[in-house]
Symmetry: C2
């Protein structure tokens, strides 16, 4: 993992390494992961010391307290990432799975087999644990990775990256599958390498992700906003609607799957709004509402801008709507395609909502906060995607693989399958 | 399908229509497809007449003969596209399939269900049949479509588009799912609509596809080149190697899955090259070779540029290589990630080739010309992709869908699954 090479050269080296890594057997990858966890534990003192240097510099430059907290990488964080590596070892290898198989003719068999994507670029903000998580996810899925962390974590990231690279190489993995980038210029160079980097995963604030998405031709896996909705339908159970609303908004406000807007059917607004207001008040949640909401409960006025705002805070906008289709239209217009839930007693209404709301995650009678790789049982979360191709919603290891078509023949040629005496394809499903 | 609206407005209308179309039942979509085929047949005289206007104008402006042939849309072409529609009706609906299902807890069930992507932009060159094929593929997969054909086919495309739109609407589909764009400015506007268009499919020359790929932030499904290889390994059966080489190169030279470079293992170059030369000479194929090739058979010299050239013609470049890994390295360096084949008697060598060659289609002992949606048994081909995400190789209807996560609950909230007395997730696989 040389830091002297140019970014384009490092990407080329990573590309070459990714080819070899893609063919490495599951056992070898799992051994390497185990060695990485061991090496991180063995170097814990140095790692924590490097992190203290970063923390010291951050304090000197008056970094805000929440950022300092994210930057901190102590024995506890180290134990967490190592536990994550051991869970990852237990997950099935996403590479080499036969997705389908067809006999084209006797002795001519086609297999669609999962394989790594190639070279993944990951740009993340201050949390050094992201470096360990994402690089080990890439290793397990056979991908090479170019990583750029926050500059305020430079010392921590350097020792983490070096430790991972050395342990993996000692375990028999090809060198050059992992590279650390360090400067803003490195990132600018990375974003231009659409011929060598196959996928970008940006982690961080919405502005940051949007900036990356707008600055590159490389495909991006991520989400730039999480404007999630709770729609309380005319026939909703009021107790359930209050519980789901409070959990969706207040269980953890600073995350992308927290609700930002509550849509209330006009038919039960009078009965529901005062109850949900009381429950949200107990969570110190500030409310903003449309005129019809304000005619029932006294809250601040909400403007059009509110419907398009991800507060990431204890603030909720409320709108009274006339029926299911009005709710669906509002969500498809103002939402971010992330997660939206309906509370209703009627299965048909629910199905219509789930089918017509154009979001990655559409829920019936439960909290928006369930949309998460861990809660979905994916085992490991690569990220959350609001893209409409490749992978959508919480993305597990599956999002880091694609497939190739392998055709096994015995000398067959296409000329024999064309013309007046053409052989016929059997197209028999083998699997 | 109004042509008076601005492109951004048409895209917005298509987006809204795509939501409704995504929920249309299979039977209704199939009825609409049947009505479209009927309407095309009923209007055949007008369609052929419109096409004659385009042909006349093209002749006047001295359009080249092969382009005139592609532009021509007569009764025979019309019958072909209608036969294509009837095959499409018989294919299973790619929408609404449950891809996996997990019980997160009792009464909290997660389903990953296939759904349309949304709005597809298709930019194609002169062939009017592409308009019918791609719009009906989009309909079957529940996607709205914005189509831009070659300006030389303007009259033909207009009547085809109008006929399809009217027939579909009469069959109960939402209006505005199909829009025709007509000018270069329309395309420029389309390429900028990454907030409203979810996927672009460019069809046409490599330069054209590359231009589209370089001019938009919208994801592109396609391939800009097909530099395919045949590698004849040291232990190859010579007869088989000759047959596979000739078929890969000469069965049809003007297509992306035809071979452009033959790699010959040094160990059998002396025995093999004269034989393959004789066979290729019978097909009037021009040969270019590396120095080691030229030491065995008298052919034109090949330069580095040849290894990176897609001739799309009866020309083949030949290189002598030292063993399997040299062949793999050459292909990964100069190839386009499309289709590559190895001829060898040894299964282990073959598996190494299939695993390490980073191409969409990797073959053992058969012709590169097999990489094709029809031959693969996909039923319908949306296009061929050399992308590393979403869909790779020949893409069937599956490439026009993504999935959403549907979570069915009974009032569950995340707060109950956190903290000291947290409920545990069951994560039981249901399907």
């Amino acid at each position: 993992m040389s830091r002297k090479m140019k970014i384009s050269e490092r990407a080329a080296a990573a590309k070459a390494a990714s080819i070899r890594l893609g063919a490495v057997k599951t056992e070898v990858k799992n051994t390497a992961l185990n060695e990485i966890a061991k090496a991180l534990q063995e170097h814990s003192a140095e790692i924590v010391k490097a992190n203290e240097r970063d923390l010291e510099a951050a304090r000197t430059s008056n970094l805000a307290a929440p950022l300092l907290k994210r930057l901190k990488f102590d024995e506890g964080k180290l134990a967490d990432v190592c536990a994550g590596i051991h869970s990852l070892i237990k997950l099935p290898d996403p590479v080499g799975r036969t997705l389908c198989a067809t006999e084209l003719d006797e002795g001519l068999e086609l297999y669609r087999v999962s394989c790594p994507i190639g070279v993944i670029g990951v740009v993340f903000e201050s949390r050094p644990d992201a470096l360990v998580q994402i690089s080990t996810l890439c290793l397990k899925s056979g991908n090479a990775v170019l990583l750029k962390g926050g500059s305020e974590a430079a010392h921590t990231n350097r020792i983490l990256g070096d430790t991972i690279a050395r342990a993996a190489e000692a375990a028999g993995l090809p060198a050059d599958w992992i590279h650390l980038l360090e400067t803003r210029q490195d990132v600018a160079d990375l974003l231009a390498l659409d011929d060598r980097v196959d996928l970008l995963i940006p982690r961080g604030s919405n502005e940051f992700v949007r900036h990356i998405m707008n600055s590159t031709n490389i495909p991006v896996l991520g989400h730039a906003a999480g404007i999630c909705h709770v729609y309380v339908a005319a026939d909703a159970d009021l107790d359930m609607a209050v519980r789901v609303t409070v959990d969706s908004k207040c269980q953890y406000v600073a995350v992308c799957n927290a609700a930002e807007t509550l849509l209330v059917d006009a038919a039960l607004a009078e009965a529901f709004l005062p109850r949900v207001q009381a429950a949200l008040a107990a969570c110190h949640c500030r409310l903003k509402g449309c005129e019809r909401t304000r005619a029932i409960i006294p809250v601040e006025p909400a403007t059009d801008e509110d419907w398009a705002t991800e507060y990431l805070d204890a603030i909720l906008s409320i709108k009274v709507v006339d029926g299911l289709d009005a709710a669906i239209d509002h969500i498809n217009r103002y939402g971010s395609g992330h997660t939206d839930t309906i509370v209703t007693a009627d299965r048909d209404q629910a199905e219509r909502f789930l089918n017509l709301v154009d979001s990655a995650d559409v829920f019936w009678n439960c909290s928006t906060r369930f949309s998460d790789g861990y809660r979905y049982g994916l085992g490991a979360e690569v990220g959350v995607s609001t893209s409409k191709i490749h992978a959508r919603g919480p993305v597990g290891l599956d999002g880091l693989v694609i497939y190739k078509w392998k055709l096994y023949g015995k000398g067959q040629i296409v000329a024999d399958y064309t013309g007046p005496n053409a052989r016929k394809f059997t197209h028999k499903k083998l699997r």
